[in-house]
Each structure stands twice: as structure tokens, then as C-alpha cells.
């Protein structure tokens, strides 16, 4: 009897817990079922751009169906078809119009909002490149949600990890907004496969919002080299190179011998040694290559912010106390004008 009474008390107690647990479980599964992600892809002249891979990779990590979004002139046959081949992408929504070719946020943001509402997406993801950075906050404001920028990891459907203070602190943040608008750090999400998928391409809604800005021109640095943000090897030069002529004379053969992209510190960019678009750091590009070789760079925290996730860091600097040596896996103290050409020569002949 006593035993039976105890079990029934237990059972009663359990019964009190069970409904909450059941409700919680239901919530979770409802979320999983309703979770639906829109990966906003950047395209240029019909080709998907680098940031798009990270948007797709991050979207796939969330779980739930992934729809890709592309807009521009004649994209269905080009970049939308390219997006449809990504493994895991279920659907591609394409809007064909010359008006969106340059990705101007003034008309692109209303376009996205229209399609987000129509598709009832819970997550909107874009790469944290110039396109995503200028577009997504505008979209978030129109949806009245607080964006989460430049995430490096996804912990759950509402919890994300992002670096703050130039990467000197790592913030784990939970979003309470109904729609999560997110930009992702390219170097943290690279594993989307561009083959094996067969998504259907459908037409998106086009609200024909007026363009308030006029695109005048662009000047892009043409380069045969691998793209800095996604290169597997990066050689980066700093103030120690002394002039633009020396920068080119020293860095180009080194990059060629390694098949690497060229980067630069802010000091080198500000002094005119290298183009702005090559700047690595908090305010420039974030890179995480297999090998980052720094030449004549002291290693200020703003610079380290952009490269300290590299697999292997090597440094050549004449100052043995330069902060770069504290993070470098291998350091060589010496005159770069001597050591770098020797290194380039030896790598090439190896």
C-alpha cells in the first residue's frame, strides 16, 4: 500500500512536469518545422560572388529548408542556375531586372522585404561583404528587427557567436526577434558544395521600388591572383617595405612563388604602397588562409583582428620584439629586403 501510494504521488508529480516538457518538445519541433532560411546571394554580371558561398554554408548549418535569392539582369540562366546546383539548396527565387544588377540597397531592400514576407522566412542570411553590409541592415530596419552582424558560428536557431572589439572578445548572443537577419563572416563558413544540387528556380515578387541612387562608375583592381578573402595562402606587406616600388618588387615574386594573394597592413595602404581593397584587419578584410605570411608588419591589434584565425602564421620582421611574433607560428628576425627574395627563390626552385 505504502509502495503504491508513493508511486501514485510520484506519478502525480511527474504528471505535473510532463505537460511542460511536452509543450517544450512541441515548441522545438514546431520551430524546426517552421524554420526556413533565405540565403541572399551576391551576383555580378551573372556570376555568384565569393560572399554567396558563406551565406549558403551558414544557411545549411541552421537546418530547415534553404532558399537562395538572386536578383539582377537575366539571372535565371546564369547566377540563379549556378545557385541551384549547390547541394542542399531547395529552391532558388530569382528576380530578373536590370534595376537590381548593381545591388543598390535603396531598391534591393524593399525587393527583399517583399520576398521575405511572401516566403515567410525565419532567417535571412548574407555574407558580410560590401554587398551584405550595406543591404542587410536596411532590410532589418524595414522589418523592425535587430540584425546580428558578422557571425562566426551558429549555436542554435537563435543563438550566434560573433567577435567584438576587433576580435579581442567573443560574444554569444541570442536574438529574440521573430525574423533573424544575419551577416556571416566568409572565412568561418566555407564548406558549401557547388555541385550535386538540383533546386528549382522560381520567379520572385518585384515591387519595383524606385532607385534613389544612380550608379555612376566603378574601379575594380583587376588581378589574376586568388581572391584575398578566400585564398588559401596570403602574403601581406606592411610599412617595412618603405615604398610602393619596393612593395611590388618584393611582394609580387613572393606571392607568385607561393601562388598566394597579396594583402597589406593599414600603414602600407595609407602610405600608398598598396590598394585599399588589399587591407587586412578590423576595418579591412578578414582572412583565414592555410598560410599567412606577414612581411614588415608589426602586428597592431587592428591588423591581428583580420588574420589571427589563419591556420599557420609566419612573420618576417627585423624587430625581434614586434607583437606579430607573439602570434606567429614561425618567425624570422631579419631584413626583409634580403630574406624575402631568398625565400621566394628557394620556394620556387623547391
Amino acid at each position: 500500500m505504502v509502495f503504491a501510494a508513493r508511486t501514485s504521488v510520484l506519478r502525480a508529480a511527474r504528471a505535473q512536469f510532463t505537460p511542460t516538457r511536452a509543450a517544450f518538445a512541441f515548441n522545438q519541433s514546431a520551430l524546426a518545422r517552421l524554420l526556413s532560411t533565405l540565403a541572399v546571394l551576391e551576383q555580378r554580371d551573372g556570376k555568384l560572388q565569393g560572399s554567396s558561398v558563406s551565406a549558403i554554408a551558414a544557411a545549411l548549418k541552421l537546418g530547415g529548408p534553404v532558399t537562395a535569392f538572386v536578383a539582377g539582369a537575366g539571372v535565371k540562366a546564369t547566377s540563379a542556375a549556378e545557385a541551384a546546383k549547390y547541394k542542399g539548396v531547395e529552391k532558388v527565387v530569382a528576380v530578373e531586372s536590370e534595376a537590381y544588377e548593381k545591388g543598390l540597397p535603396e531598391n534591393y531592400a524593399p525587393l527583399l522585404v517583399e520576398n521575405i514576407k511572401k516566403g515567410e522566412y525565419t532567417h535571412i542570411i548574407a555574407g558580410h561583404g560590401a554587398f551584405g553590409k550595406s543591404l542587410l541592415p536596411r532590410v532589418a530596419a524595414l522589418l523592425d528587427v535587430q540584425q546580428v552582424s558578422d557571425i562566426t558560428a551558429i549555436e542554435s536557431e537563435d543563438t550566434f557567436v560573433r567577435p567584438i572589439y576587433a576580435g579581442n572578445a567573443i560574444l554569444t548572443v541570442q536574438s529574440t526577434d521573430p525574423i533573424k537577419v544575419i551577416t556571416v563572416r566568409g572565412t568561418a563558413f566555407q564548406d558549401a558544395e557547388p555541385t550535386g544540387g538540383s533546386a528549382s528556380v522560381t520567379d520572385g515578387a518585384d515591387p519595383n521600388a524606385p532607385a534613389q541612387t544612380e550608379w555612376v562608375s566603378e574601379e575594380l583592381s583587376k588581378s589574376e591572383r586568388p581572391d584575398l578573402a578566400t585564398a588559401s595562402r596570403v602574403v601581406s606587406g606592411g610599412r617595412g617595405l618603405k615604398s610602393k616600388e619596393e612593395f611590388d618588387r618584393i611582394m609580387v615574386p613572393l606571392a607568385d612563388s607561393l601562388g598566394a594573394a597579396i594583402g597589406a597592413s593599414r600603414a602600407a595602404v595609407d602610405s600608398g604602397f598598396a590598394d585599399n581593397s588589399l587591407q587586412v584587419g578590423q576595418t579591412g578584410k578578414n582572412v583565414a588562409p592555410q598560410l599567412y605570411l606577414s612581411v614588415g608588419i608589426s602586428g597592431a591589434i587592428q591588423h591581428l583582428a583580420g588574420m589571427k584565425d589563419s591556420k599557420v602564421i609566419a612573420a618576417i620582421n627585423k624587430d625581434a620584439d614586434a607583437p606579430i611574433f607573439q602570434v606567429a607560428d614561425v618567425g624570422l628576425v631579419g631584413d626583409l629586403f634580403e630574406k624575402v627574395p631568398e625565400l621566394a627563390e628557394k620556394v620556387k626552385s623547391a
Partner: protein, 261 residues
């Protein structure tokens, strides 16, 4: 359309860029007490650009430059700096100091929208990002809320005519792009835009007499609503420096050993 430029320059007080922030023991944020703070470097650029627009005497005269900051009492110092550089007046929106990173960009953008409307602003110059939160959102959000054109990461701003046509060159991946838009307009500044001036001593003295009005979020009908919850703030994984080698052969050998070559 516009008779002159009425410029709003929002500025933020942040931990000085040269200081390595320390995470507090409770892992809820970054230690801010007793740490040197200064004007966010990108906001210095926007104050400078506003002042240069006045000095350039372009086709549109600058009527007024309003600096604004939201935060604890010490933001007043930041605003005095902006006024010493050339801003005419300032609003200090009093928000209690906190360890959770302060107002969220959406809240700031909503506040700025209200200020723009009340003060009849036609050009907002913001930094492209604050170096503490590294979010890079406020300018774009404000432009979206106002329905104005935006130019982010500007490296050149050129007022073309008295009709308020502005040409902006801005930094994009792999180069620069030039855009044309009409006032009213939101611009965010990039490093290459200009070289901010140092405030001279006489100007610092003069700035003390310039009007600094204290406001609250409620004055602009905005609530400090948090959409993001900080779960924790941690140290990034530290890298172990791997020591030094003697010569180039040593370097190549080590790189091979590490699998990088």
C-alpha cells in the same frame, strides 16, 4: 531643393582603439571602468567631413552641424571634442551607463530618425562602424527607416550643385564604386575619407561655450528595447607563438613541418 546643408553627426564614445579590452570576470561584457575612452575613430572622420563641407564653400552652404551622442554622462566630453573640431551644437541623449554594450543600433537609428525629423536635417554623416560592437548597421538602418538614399563606406563626398546632387565614391570589395544621389542623404564614412584634425586649444575653449542640450530617449518617443540578449562574452582562443628560426631554410623547414608548404 535645399537652401543649405543641415548636418547631423552622431558620435560614439568607445574604448580607445589602442587599448586591448579586458573581459570581466562574470563573462558578461568588457571591463569599461577606468579604461581610456575616446571618440570612435570613424566618427572623427564624419565630424571632419562635415566641417570640411563647410570650409569647402561648395555650391551648398553648411547651415548647421549638430553632433549627437547617446550614453552616460561622459559622452559630454566626446561631444565637446566634436564641437572643438567644428560642430556648432550638440545633443546628449542621456542613457545610463551599462556593461551590455549600450543601445542597439536599431534603437539608435530610431532615435536619429526622430532627431532628423525634429531638427529638419538633410544630411547625416555616420562612421561605418563603432570599434566596440563592430556591427556596422546604424547608418543603413537610419536610411531605411527614413526611406533616404544611403552611401556606405564613403571615401569621397562631392556636392555637385545647389540642387543637392551629391556624388559619393565608396569602397566595395575589390575596389571603389561611385554613386550619385540627391539630398536628403545618409553617408557612412570610411578610413580613406579624410584625415581628422586635432582640436586646437582655442577651439577647445570655444567649444565649452557652444550649446550642449541634454535629452532623453523619451523626448524622441523611443524606448530602449533590447532584441539581443548577451549570453556570454569570452576571450578568443589565444595563439601560441611558435618561436623563431635562424634563417630562410629554417623558415621553409618549419612551414613544411606545419603542413603550410
Amino acid at each position: 531643393m535645399a537652401s543649405g546643408l543641415r548636418i547631423l553627426v552622431p558620435v560614439k564614445r568607445v574604448i580607445d582603439y589602442a587599448i586591448k579590452p579586458r573581459i570581466n570576470k562574470a563573462q558578461t561584457g568588457v571591463e569599461t571602468a577606468g579604461v581610456k575612452h575616446s571618440l570612435n575613430p570613424f566618427d572623427e572622420l564624419s565630424v571632419e567631413e562635415a566641417v570640411r563641407l563647410r570650409e569647402r564653400k561648395g555650391p551648398l552652404k553648411v547651415d548647421n552641424i549638430l553632433a549627437l551622442s547617446a550614453g552616460g554622462p561622459k559622452c559630454a566630453d566626446t561631444l565637446r571634442t566634436a564641437m572643438a573640431m567644428g560642430a556648432d551644437r550638440a545633443f546628449h541623449i542621456d542613457v545610463p551607463d551599462s556593461n551590455d554594450g549600450g543601445l542597439e543600433p536599431l534603437t539608435v537609428a530610431k532615435t536619429l530618425r526622430a532627431v532628423v525629423e525634429k531638427e529638419n536635417i538633410n544630411l547625416v554623416l555616420l562612421g561605418k562602424q563603432a570599434i566596440d560592437g563592430d556591427q556596422g548597421q546604424t547608418g543603413q538602418m537610419l536610411a531605411g527607416l527614413l526611406g533616404w538614399p544611403q552611401a556606405t563606406q564613403a571615401s569621397k563626398v562631392d556636392v555637385k550643385d545647389d540642387q543637392g546632387t551629391v556624388e559619393i565614391t565608396h569602397e566595395v570589395d575589390g575596389g571603389v564604386e561611385t554613386l550619385k544621389a540627391k539630398l536628403p542623404l545618409v553617408i557612412t564614412t570610411d578610413l580613406r575619407l579624410n584625415e581628422p584634425r586635432y582640436a586646437s586649444l582655442p577651439n577647445i575653449m570655444k567649444a565649452k561655450k557652444k550649446p550642449l542640450e541634454k535629452k532623453t530617449l523619451a523626448d524622441f518617443g523611443v524606448e530602449d528595447k533590447k532584441r539581443l540578449k548577451t549570453l556570454k562574452v569570452t576571450e578568443p582562443p589565444t595563439r601560441q607563438g611558435g618561436g623563431k628560426v635562424e634563417d630562410v631554410d629554417g623558415l621553409i623547414g618549419k612551414l613544411k613541418e606545419l603542413g603550410a608548404l
